[in-house]
Every structure is written in C-alpha cells, then in structure tokens.
C-alpha cells in the first residue's frame, strides 16, 4: 500500500511540476492529512524540487512555496497544539455547543468505549470560580472525584435500559449540580429532565427542525439500545466501541454542526478554491520568471480586507534553522515516553509514524548499534523499550529511506506516562502531544476536537497567514472544483 502511496505522491509532484512549467491551471495541493503533507514535503526537499503548499478553509486560503534552504518548509512551524477544554466546564457548566459535543463523546466512551476516569461526565466537586477557572475546594477536604458509582456501572447494572441511563444523566446529575449554589450565582441554572416514557416517540427524524423533548427521548432510546447491543457483542470479544462520525447511530448519539466539530471538518468552497488555484499559478509564474532566488512570495486571501487588501502577499519566510526536517543533517529531537510501559510497536506506530510522520523507519541505538526497529519488519515489537535496552538519555538514529530523511532521537524516561503517551520536546520547549488511544481507534481524548483549527491559529500567529484545507470528502458525490 505504501508503494502505491509513494507512486501517487511522485505522480503528484510530476503533475505539479508539469503544470507549473506549462503554467496551465493548477489545483490546490489538497493532500488531506498532515502526515501525508509532511511526507510530500520531505520528498520534495530530498529531490530539491520546489513545492507549492496551499489550502483553503471557508473564506480563507493561502499558498507558499517551499524551496530547500530558501523558504520555510511545511514542518518549520512545529506540531500544532491541541485545543483543550477544562473538564469542569464540560461536566458542570457547559455554555457552548462544542462543550456539549465533547461531553457527548465522553458519555459515549463512558458507556460503550474505553473507560477513562479523567473523562468522567458526571458532576464533580471541582468548582468554577468567578473567572471561570477551576477552583478546588481543598479547605473542605473534599477530593476531586465523580459522585457515586460510575456511569458504566450504573448502565450495566440496569442492562443498558435507556430509562435508567437517561435519568442518571439528565435528572440525577443535574439535581446534584443544582446543589452547588456557587455555580448558579451568575448563571442560569439548568432544568433537570425526567423520563417521560416516550421511548417510541418519533424516531422518524427530520433534519433542520428543532425537536421536542419526546423526539429526543426516542432518539436517545434507539441509540442506547442499538449501541448497547453492539457493545455487548464487542465486549464478549474483549473489545469496546469506537466513535465514528460516519456511523449514523453513533452520530445520533450526539448531528449537522456536530459532525463538523466532532469530525474536524472545515468546509472548502468553490470560490475560495478558485482564488487559491489562481494564487498558486501566479506564484508559480513568478518563480519561473524570476528564478528561485528572486522575490518569492507567500500569498493569502481573507474573509474581510486587512488594510484594504482582500488578496495579499508578503515575502516568503526563510527556513526555521531549528526545523528538524529542513534544518540540516544532525538535528535532534527529544521524546519523552514511559520506557517501562511503551512497547516497541507502539513507539513505531504512535511516536514515529504519527508523531514524526515517517513511513518506514529504521531505528538504531547509537550507543550499542542495536537495531531496535527494522523497516524489513524482522524486529520484535511486543517488548517494551526498556526490555530492548533503551534507557533514559539513549540516543537513537531514525532513518527513513523512503523519505530520504533522518533524525536523531534522544529518549527521555517519564514514569508518569501511560503506555501510549509521548511528548515531543524540541529545544527545551515541550510540545504536548498526548495521542489518544488510536491503536484501538478510540477517541477517548475529547480534546482532539479543533486540533486543526488550532493548527490554523498556530500558522496564523507565526506566518501571518492561514493554512490547511482540512477537507474530508463525504460519502456521497458532491460538486467541488
């Protein structure tokens, strides 16, 4: 599969170059995932071929040219920081739709997915102060803990009876919340809902109408029953359910706007795409006429004019000398993991492939010259990193022949991490990158939402221009240039 991908990538580059040279209309480089874009970035740097990186999101669009040693590359800005919400806002005082979406995904995991005590959905003793920040009640000796038995316990005792689950979530928990007087001084208190026995009501759903509570009860019943059934099947095989935005039953559990938020969709539209395509060609012509040393520009378009400019450009940014991709030969990244808990296979999948965007890494311990991971696949991935001799401070050489890319990794041991957690530490500045349990495909980390929006903000801050078309095609055919 990887070779197919590579062929596609090369084809794409060739296509791009041919198009640049013939200066006919070029489409945006709409490679969807960050890892894929990072991969193309490395191939182009390796082949020393100019790459026009572009994206459109809503009314925003941008293009910048990546030329080795002259302009910044796709990975010069580092990894995006994920947007997070304080757990107490989600549990106690949700005020925005996104809070409810995060809550719903947590409920899903509490009921049917991998249970995570940090992800509890019931109210807790953590209270919000005036400024909206968490304010622990340490004086009263109360510890931060959810009230009573966990949602999973209640649900399985009641055999996933929708009524019991409903009453726990919407009546019991809300009544408990109401006892926290402090919370409601400046806020409208919530109204508990009790089960109205409308479990059969209106499961025929109509989109784009406001549903009465009865309809919600019907939808809730259907979702809990179906998911409960699937969960029992999965559980008997030792599995759990995974939330998927394209599964209607799972989706009804939490719909339209929600799909965007929970599934990270930022819409791309024909007009912005046309503008971005035009900008790419203009910048490509500029490069061909002026050469790679002259007047390279990054161009962008905004929803509203900035200093009268709707379409704007500025000199391309120079490369970040500390970039671990284009910054030159011996760049080193520091990665913290729990050596005693993390398996070699997890290290390969999560840290190397997801964290560093490599595709077929060879890992050699620079101290002992032991091969830790071989791209031929003849190494044992079931042992922990500690068991194969990796210690705190061990330096590893990571080499990916497919990308013509290598980087040194200094491993740091952090015993507080769980078996899949890691942190990229570049230049003393830790970049948090707790990856959720993607191995089982679980999205237990509600905070992943908006990671792409954060990416845009991140780029905006640094380069003064937005990036990213985080466009995920629908299952149905659609009209799009």
């Amino acid at each position: 599969m990887m070779s197919t991908f590579l062929k596609v990538s090369h084809l794409y580059l060739m296509l791009l170059i041919t198009k640049v040279i013939t200066s006919s209309s070029i489409k945006t480089i709409n490679v969807q995932f960050l890892a894929a874009r990072a991969h193309v970035n490395r191939l182009c740097l390796s082949a020393n071929v100019p790459l026009f990186e572009s994206g459109s999101a809503g009314y925003m669009g941008n293009v910048f040219v990546i030329i080795k040693g002259k302009t910044e590359c796709f990975e010069c800005l580092g990894k995006p920081v994920q947007k997070t919400f304080p757990g107490c806002t989600i549990r106690n005082t949700p005020s925005e739709l996104i809070h409810c979406v995060v809550w719903a995904k947590s409920v899903f995991n509490q009921l049917f997915g991998e249970e995570d005590p940090d992800d509890a959905v019931s109210p807790n003793f953590e209270r919000e102060g005036e400024n909206g920040h968490a304010n622990k009640n340490a004086e009263n000796g109360e510890e931060k803990k959810p009230v009573g038995p966990s949602l999973r316990t209640i649900a399985s005792q009641a055999n996933y009876d929708p009524k019991e689950v409903f009453n726990k979530l919407y009546e019991k928990d809300i009544n408990y919340l109401l006892t926290m007087d402090d919370l409601w001084k400046d806020r409208r208190p919530p109204t508990p809902l009790s089960w109205g026995g409308n479990s059969a009501a209106g499961t025929q759903t109509i989109t784009n109408k406001i549903w009465p509570v009865q309809t919600w009860e019907g939808i809730f019943t259907e979702a809990v029953e179906n998911l409960g059934k699937s969960f029992k099947e999965a559980e008997s095989k030792g599995n759990v359910l995974v939330w998927d935005k394209d599964d209607d039953v799972a989706m009804n559990f939490s719909n339209f706007d929600i799909k965007s938020m929970a599934g990270n969709i930022i819409p791309a539209i024909a007009t912005t795409n046309a503008i971005v395509a035009g900008m790419i060609v203009v910048e490509a012509i500029r490069m061909i006429r002026g050469g790679v040393t002259n007047d390279l520009r990054a161009a962008y378009t905004n929803p509203t004019p900035i200093a009268s400019r709707l379409v704007s450009s500025s000199a391309a940014n120079p490369p970040n000398p500390n970039c671990f991709v284009c910054g030159g030969g011996n760049r080193e990244v520091r990665i913290a993991v729990n050596l005693e808990a993390m398996k070699v296979s997890t290290f390969e999948e999560q840290v190397l492939k997801k964290g560093l965007s490599v595709v077929e890494p060879d890992i050699i311990d620079l101290g002992t010259s032991n091969v830790i991971i071989s791209s031929d696949g003849d190494t044992d991935g079931t042992k922990t990193l500690y068991a194969v001799g990796v210690r705190n401070g061990t330096r590893l050489d990571c080499d990916d022949f497919k990308q013509d890319f290598s980087v040194k990794i200094q491993v740091q041991h952090d015993p507080s991490f769980d078996p899949i957690q890691f942190e990229l530490r570049e230049d003393d500045e830790p970049v948090k990158s707790k990856i959720s349990e993607n191995e089982t495909g679980l999205v237990s980390e509600s905070m992943e939402i908006d990671k792409d929006a954060a990416q845009i903000k991140n780029l905006k801050r640094t380069a003064g221009n937005p990036d990213e078309n985080i466009e995920i095609p629908t299952k149905r055919s659609r009209i799009e240039v």
């Binding site: 007009t271 379409v311 450009s313 009209i479 799009e480």
Partner: protein, 356 residues
C-alpha cells in the same frame, strides 16, 4: 423571482460543505435566486462555473459574440465551436457542473438588455463589457432594484464593481445591539439628545437597523446598504489626492483599472502596450502615473497580454463570492470595487468614489 422553494434533502447532501459555511437560510435564498451573466469571456467562464456550483434556482448565460479560433475558455470546446455564439457554445460544459440548476444559454446583443428583460433577474453580472454598456445596464438595474456587478480583465490585472444599492444584508451586530436588554436600554436612553441625534442620523442615511437574531456573540442585524452608481463611483480627480490619502488608499490598482476602462472606451478597441505608454506619457507629470507604472513593474505588456487565467480565477472568485453574499444576504459585503494585480499579488478593496 420563482416561488419560494425549500431545499430538498438531495440538495442538502450536494451543498453540504457550503451550508456548513454560510448556513441553511443563505442556501435557501440562493435556491430562490435567478442570475443573468452577460459575456462568456474567460472571466465569464470562471463566474459561470462558480455560480453553477453554488446552487442557484436559475442561471442565464448570454452573449452577442462569436467564438474565435484563438479564444481560450475552459467552458468552450474551441475547436468544435468556432463561429458559434459564445454563450451557446458553453452550454454543455456548464450543464455538467450542476444538473440541479435551471440553465439557459442565449444569444443576446447588448442592446437587447432592456429594463423589461433585466427585471426577471435578482442579479445581473457583466463580464468584460465596455464602460458605456456598464453605465447603461447599471442605471437600468438601479432603477428596477436589481443587484448589479461588472467585472473585467486586462492581462494580468482585473477589477470587479459592485452595486447592491438599497439591498439588505445580515451583518454581525455591533456590540451595543447584541442583547435585547441593551437594546431596551437604548430605547430608554433615546431621550438623551446625543443618542437621539445618532438614531435620527442613522435613519436619515437609510440605515434602518433591525435586530434579527439575539443570541449572545453571534447576533446579526439587517442593514440596508447604499451604493453609488458606476458613473458616480468612477469619478476621480487626481489633483485632490494628497500624499496622506495615497498612503492610506493605496490607489495604484484602481488607477490601472480606471485607466484601462477609460482608454478602451476612448479608443473603441482593445488597448495595446503602446496605447498605454502614450497615455502614461501624456500624464507624465502626474505622480499617480508613477504609482501605477511601479505597480506594473514598468511592463505594460502585462495589461495587454491575453487575460491571464490565474487572474480570471482570482477576480472571478472574489466577484462570485460577492454575488453569493448579496443573493443570500449573508455577511458584510465589500464596498464597492475590487482591483487585482498579479505582478505584485495584491488585490485591494476600494470604497469608491476614491475621494469623498
């Protein structure tokens, strides 16, 4: 306008992404709009494509010109269509873009663009037409309350002019209109002379303010926006431009578009680099000419080359987005002139007339 129709679930699926961006109400207004696009030039092709994709009720593409052997237009199979009407020749490739839109491609000379004919449309767009045609069609549209846009390409540069005079837009509410309570307070305080004067002022300017949605943070108000006519907008007296105004208005791109429109009108044919050079020499002692020639890097070929497809895509994209905005009454429109120049990759919005 056709009878109001509500969007079907098939359409919902097709337009899913854009509805996510501009909302269902906006899509429903597009669904009930009919547009006339006159001029199937390379810019017209960009606009036609964008408007087919956005989900109108009906699009009419009209043109009086024939396809020439050296035409470059992605909606026309030039080899098969030489000497055919440009609008009719673009039918097939427009049709496949979106079967849900009523599409009509007709032969029309510009003298046939009578007020009676134009009245059928919610929006009229002229692509690459002369100054006198823009002026007369704009006047008819203003009289009959039809939204109007004109756009044109001169080589690497291009412009778009918007006239949505007297149409309402849903724009984000200023903070003091965001909440019901505050609005009531406004009314209470309306007796205070300064507030009252401001309200009167707003009303006399034709800015009737009506608060529509009152959710905190994303409250929107209906605002009626006034636009000058094409002929009033293009009034430009260079001698009134002070250094400060030049620095603030950055008028180079407007000057280029204005000069091209003017020259083309005066000469009655497509302008050549020599024409433009003569024009620049004629105004050599005017510092503004230097601004314009600097913006073009002193290379006049760039405005007399055939339309650069990339410039068509950018100007066509901005123009179409404004068309969509005006028909869907969504968001704050740009007022009222866009001028793009690929030499320096800059596209400015100007509020014309340049000097008030």
């Amino acid at each position: 306008m056709a009878d109001t129709k509500v969007i079907s679930s098939d359409e919902l699926a097709v337009y899913d992404r854009q509805i996510r961006l501009w909302g269902l109400d906006a899509q429903n207004r597009l669904r009930n709009s009919s547009v006339l696009l006159y001029g199937m030039t390379p810019l017209g092709a960009e606009i036609g494509k964008n408007l087919m994709l956005c989900g109108l009720n009906a699009l009419t593409v009209a043109d009086g010109c024939l396809v020439e052997e050296n035409d470059v237009n992605f909606l026309i199979d030039v080899k098969k269509s030489v000497r055919k009407n440009r609008a009719e020749a673009s039918h097939d490739r427009l049709r496949v873009l979106n079967p849900l839109v009523k599409l009509e491609t007709v032969k029309k000379r510009h003298i046939e663009l009578t007020a009676d004919y134009l009245k059928k449309y919610d929006l009229v767009i002229l692509a690459d037409q002369g100054k006198d045609i823009i002026k007369s069609v704009d006047a008819k549209c203003r009289e009959n309350k039809i939204r109007f846009i004109a756009g044109g390409i001169f080589g690497w540069t291009g412009y778009a002019f918007f006239d949505f005079d007297g149409f309402e837009f849903l724009i984000p509410a200023p903070k003091d209109h965001a909440l019901v309570d505050e609005k009531k307070e406004d009314e209470k305080q309306a007796e205070s002379p300064s507030k009252k004067a401001k309200l009167d002022d707003d009303i006399s300017n034709g800015k009737q303010i009506e608060t529509v949605t009152l959710e905190e943070d994303n409250a929107k108000i209906k605002k009626c926006i006034t636009y000058p006519s094409f002929i009033d907008a293009l009034v430009f007296e260079p001698e009134k431009l002070t250094k400060g105004l030049i620095r603030r208005l950055k008028p180079a791109n407007f000057i280029i578009a204005n000069a091209c429109l003017h020259l083309e009108h005066k000469l009655g044919h497509e302008i050549s680099a020599d024409d433009f050079e003569d024009f620049v020499k004629l105004h050599a002692n005017n510092p503004l000419q230097k601004l314009a020639t600097d913006a073009l890097n002193n290379d006049f070929e760039v405005i007399t080359d055939p339309p650069l497809p990339a410039t068509c895509a950018i100007v066509g994209g901005v123009l179409s987005q404004e068309a969509i905005k005006s028909l869907s009454q969504n968001d704050t429109p740009h007022k009222n002139f866009f001028a793009y120049n690929a030499v320096e990759s800059m596209g400015y919005i100007y509020d014309l007339p340049l000097i008030k």
